[in-house]
């Protein structure tokens, strides 16, 4: 079976683009399947939990909802496999297996070969990529690992004179596109992203309302509903228990402060990367800044970055409407565009 040479566009080949995110992972498949799951994997804690759940492993929302009965893992940290834990490597395998099975479930024909392009943070080290490649061995037939912001640029066909800012949960990835495959100096990764906002929000609300019992999961859910930068359009009200009684709190200011904590480092990196572009092209790049990733959806983020560009002559920031799938879509486009002869060299 593995000896068969897959043909591009052949009925038996399934191409996948995969965005393994710290918080959410998504898959786009050549058979039209587009799915996203929370990047959580859990194993029942004991025999009782196994009997109740009737499963040996749970992935995604199901794992999150049953987390009290599970040995729950969020195996990716800053977009990469957590170091030093076999269980996390196992969890990443389960996560990818799950994503591939979701894609295969939509197959209306016999799939003999699965080829996948998987996104990683822009500045992922070669050793990180090797670790990921090794962890994913055998799950797909051929594998390519790609810088996540490059995959976003490829999906949007914004390949020349653009700056991609992809802010997820674990990392903020930057990539200047010059019409070539990005080199190390074209890319930057900051370890400050959505998770940092959650931690800030948790800290700020807890310090403002010390009696309230708040978990990081609650802070994350509030952020996903109410995040914003700049002037609030309405008050942000959240509910948390105080001595067991559900109580409503005004979280407007903590929310704003937590979200805006991302701004200084993101703005500074954006301006620094633009300043390194050859002078005659800087204007074009400034006017072609693309904000992607789940944290890119924070209301007012794009506008705040655009205001930051005013200091260097102005520019334009566009926000990707569907950041959850754009990385996976780019991976899929790359997978489809790679000729079979190239795929042959990249057996997983």
């Amino acid at each position: 079976m593995s000896e068969a040479t897959p043909q591009q566009g052949s009925d038996s080949v399934l191409n996948l683009g995969v965005d393994l995110g710290t918080s959410r992972s998504s898959v786009s498949a050549s058979n039209g399947v587009r799915q996203a799951v929370e990047s959580y994997v859990g194993w029942p804690l004991d025999m009782v939990a196994r009997k109740v759940l009737r499963r040996d492993v749970l992935v995604g929302r199901e794992a999150l909802d049953n987390r009290l009965m599970l040995d729950l893992h969020r195996p990716l940290e800053r977009g990469l496999i957590k170091e030093g834990s076999d269980k996390d490597i196992h969890a990443v395998r389960e996560l990818l297996k799950h994503l591939v099975s979701l894609a295969l479930a939509g197959a209306d024909r016999d799939i003999m070969t699965v080829q996948a392009v998987v996104g990683v943070p822009a500045e992922a080290l070669r050793v990180n990529k090797q670790q990921l490649r090794s962890a994913l061995k055998g799950i797909v037939d051929s594998l390519m690992i790609v810088s996540e912001p490059f995959a976003v640029a490829y999906a949007l066909e914004s390949l020349v004179n653009s700056l991609i800012i992809d802010i997820g949960a674990g990392t903020a990835d930057f990539c200047v596109m010059h019409g070539r495959y990005p080199l190390e100096e074209d890319q930057r990764t900051l370890p400050i992203a959505g998770d940092h906002v959650d931690e800030q929000l948790h800290r700020l609300i807890t310090s403002k309302y010390p009696d309230a019992k708040i978990s990081l999961h609650m802070a994350r859910e509030w952020k996903e509903k109410h995040s914003f930068m700049g002037e609030p359009t309405e008050k942000v009200w959240v509910v948390a228990p105080v001595q067991g009684r559900p109580t409503e709190f005004d979280a407007t200011e903590p929310m704003r402060a937590a979200c805006e904590s991302l701004l200084p480092s993101v703005k500074e990196t954006m301006l620094d990367l633009i300043s390194r572009v050859q002078p005659e092209y800087q204007d074009r790049v400034r006017n072609n800044v693309i904000l992607s990733g789940g944290s890119g959806l924070i209301r007012g983020f794009g506008m705040a970055l655009q205001q930051g560009l005013e200091d260097v002559g102005g520019g334009r920031v566009r926000v990707v409407a569907d950041p959850l799938h754009v990385g996976a879509d780019g991976g899929l486009a790359l997978a489809m565009d790679a000729p079979p002869s190239e795929w042959d060299k990249l057996a997983a």
Binding site: E3, R126, A338, E342
Partner: protein, 347 residues
């Protein structure tokens, strides 16, 4: 549009190259073209300059050394400190003390068997069928010889990461007789022999896994299965007597039964996690030709039923084949642990 396509083609090529470099462990690219050109010129200049520098330095050094040597030899003629020392005679040396006999060696003690635990080093994997002997074929076109080879290769890769030595009876689409496979296993001094097959059952609703060790059977289903798997045995009529003797003499039967039990347990437990309706069809004995002449614990695992539509569809996916491979490795690990051995993933 054509320019955009050109850019995309170039980027895909560069992406593939980057991935190949990752596979090879090369350093990431980071220099610009101009800097690379400067460095290339510098390297060429260095290559030209280095031999010249070496030649010059060798010439200068040899001239200086010759002059120095002449000076030394001239001095040596007048300076007694340069005279060679007389060799030490044996009579000047103190005799070594005589060797005392080791008292613990004088009376040999019986060796505790636990000091020498049996270990499993070499695993012979036998992907069933091959070449013109295709094995069973599913209605969807899955061919047993291709499935078994794919799973075998996955098992090999996993076992090697656990530091086992692995010998494959075939590594491509080749047709070897059962006798040739057994001979290869014996020659390789394998510690265990695992033959991988997929099953075909007339009742196409039936699905599951079953593992066999060598023995007699009166079950007509098993007789038919053995007859099917024994095609192209390579055994002559004269071999038949030996085969029968081995079947009934119970040679290696207990070890093989234990290995089959471990394999069946691992296959069923692992596959149930991903295929909830898989059935445990148990450990059985049957007269499979490939198990008769192997001089080590030997089993034959029917890891799936291609006659069943659900399992045939699962077998088409690399994930399921990987699960099967991992389950087979787990079976081997269970058996190895029963021997007191623990193999761990290589760091």
């Amino acid at each position: 549009m054509a320019r955009q396509d050109r850019i995309k083609r170039r980027m895909v090529r560069q992406l593939v190259r980057d991935n190949l470099e990752t596979l090879e462990g090369a350093h990431p690219r980071r220099r610009g073209r101009r800097l690379r050109t400067v460095l290339t010129v510098a390297r060429v200049l260095l290559l030209v300059a280095l031999p010249a520098a070496l030649f010059t330095s060798t010439y200068v050094l040899s001239t200086v050394a010759a002059e120095w040597r002449d000076d030394v030899w001239q001095d040596d003629a007048h300076n007694p400190t340069f005279s060679t020392r007389a060799p030490i005679s044996f009579s000047e040396m103190e005799p070594l003390p005589p060797i005392e006999p080791n008292r613990s060696m004088a009376t040999p003690q019986p060796i505790d068997p636990s000091v020498l635990p049996l270990a499993l080093h070499t695993v012979v994997l036998d992907p069933g069928h091959g070449g013109e002997n295709e094995g069973t074929i599913s209605p969807t076109g899955l061919i047993e010889k291709e499935i078994t080879l794919d799973i075998g290769q996955r098992v090999r890769s996993l076992l090697e990461s656990y530091s086992y030595k692995v010998v494959m009876t075939r590594q491509r689409d080749e047709d070897f007789s059962l006798k040739q496979r057994a001979e290869l296993a014996n020659k390789a001094r394998g510690d265990i022999f695992v033959s991988i097959h997929v099953n075909w059952i007339e009742n196409r609703e039936v699905r599951g896994v079953e593992t066999f060790f060598l023995g007699a059977t009166e079950d007509p289903y098993l007789e038919a299965l053995a007859a099917r798997e024994n095609q192209n045995s390579g055994y002559s009529l004269a071999d038949f007597r030996d085969i029968l003797e081995q079947v009934y003499a119970g040679v290696r039967q207990e070890e093989s039964r234990q290995l089959a039990g471990a394999m069946q347990q691992a296959l069923y437990d692992s596959l149930r996690a991903v295929n909830s309706t898989v059935r445990d069809r148990g450990v059985k004995s049957a007269p499979f030709g490939v198990l008769t002449h192997t001089e080590m614990p030997a089993i034959l695992a029917e890891v799936s039923c291609v006659s069943n539509d659900v399992e045939a569809r699962l077998l088409m996916t690399p994930i399921y084949r990987q699960y099967l491979a991992e389950a087979i490795v787990e079976g081997i690990q269970i058996y190895a642990r029963s021997l007191g051995q623990a193999n761990h993933l290589e760091g």
